[in-house]
């Protein structure tokens, strides 16, 4: 079975400060890892993914995430937060296999960026 933990229900940060949204995962074998963002009354939008290769992944809107295999983590980061970054963020994991794999999502972390 695969699972994702997002330990913080909410993260508060001031505009211009760096932000981190935490994610840890559990999966057998090598994972595929994803971050999605959801704005109010919208579907989920893809931010970035780790499939293989460089542990530091850069994505949309200046976000990046670092895959850490020893800590089974995939934290989302941004050097300087914007008020417009305020949204609900989901981490997700899948496990490639010989059959059909599906995405398992965390419970989500609400990011609030104050002016």
């Amino acid at each position: 079975a695969q699972s994702v933990a997002q330990p913080e229900d909410q993260v508060n940060v001031a505009e211009g400060n760096p932000l981190t949204v935490k994610c840890t995962y559990s999966v057998s074998g090598n994972p595929y890892l994803f971050w999605y963002v959801q704005y109010p009354n919208r579907g989920l939008q893809f931010l970035l993914k780790y499939i293989t290769g460089d542990n530091l992944v850069k994505g949309s809107y200046g976000f990046e995430a670092e895959f850490n295999k020893s800590q089974t983590s995939f934290h989302l980061k941004k050097p300087s937060a914007l008020v417009s970054d305020s949204a609900l963020y989901f981490c997700a994991v899948s496990r490639p296999n010989s059959g059909y794999s599906t995405l398992t999502f965390g419970k989500g972390t609400m990011l609030l960026v104050s002016p």
Binding site: Q6, Y32, F34, Y36, R42, G43, L44, Q45, F46, K49, I51, F90, S94, P96, N97, G99, Y100, S101, T102, L103, T104, F105, G106, K107, G108
Partner: protein, 113 residues
């Protein structure tokens, strides 16, 4: 969201009635998924499809059925709606069987009263 539409966007229904939600895609992707989103639970997989007439259950499939008679359409049916099925339902599509990333629809907000 481009290439994938869900209908209806909002629905209120009574307990015990059947309800069908529709997901339509124009991307010709083979893989389609239904998730429900609830506070404190994130997104949970209900059913998915890996081709026309090929479907499988997810982690919260009880009370739901699906059908896929055409590549572009994936229907989710609540056979007899219950209040616990009040939720926001999202459809997603993918090109790859290895779940390398999904494209989501805008969701259907279902209220069962």
């Amino acid at each position: 969201d481009a290439g994938i539409t869900q209908s209806p966007r909002h629905k209120v229904t009574e307990t015990g009635t059947p309800v069908t939600l529709r997901c339509h895609q124009t991307e010709n992707h083979r893989y389609m998924y239904w998730y429900r989103q609830d506070p404190g639970h994130g997104l949970r997989l209900i059913h998915y499809s890996y081709g026309v007439k090929d479907t499988d259950k997810g982690e919260v499939s009880d009370g739901y059925s699906v059908s896929r008679s055409k590549t572009e359409d994936f229907l989710l049916t609540l056979e007899s709606a219950t209040s616990s099925q009040t939720s926001v339902y999202f459809c997603a599509i993918s090109e790859s069987r290895q779940a390398e990333g999904y494209t989501f629809g805008s969701g259907t907000r279902l209220t069962v009263v």
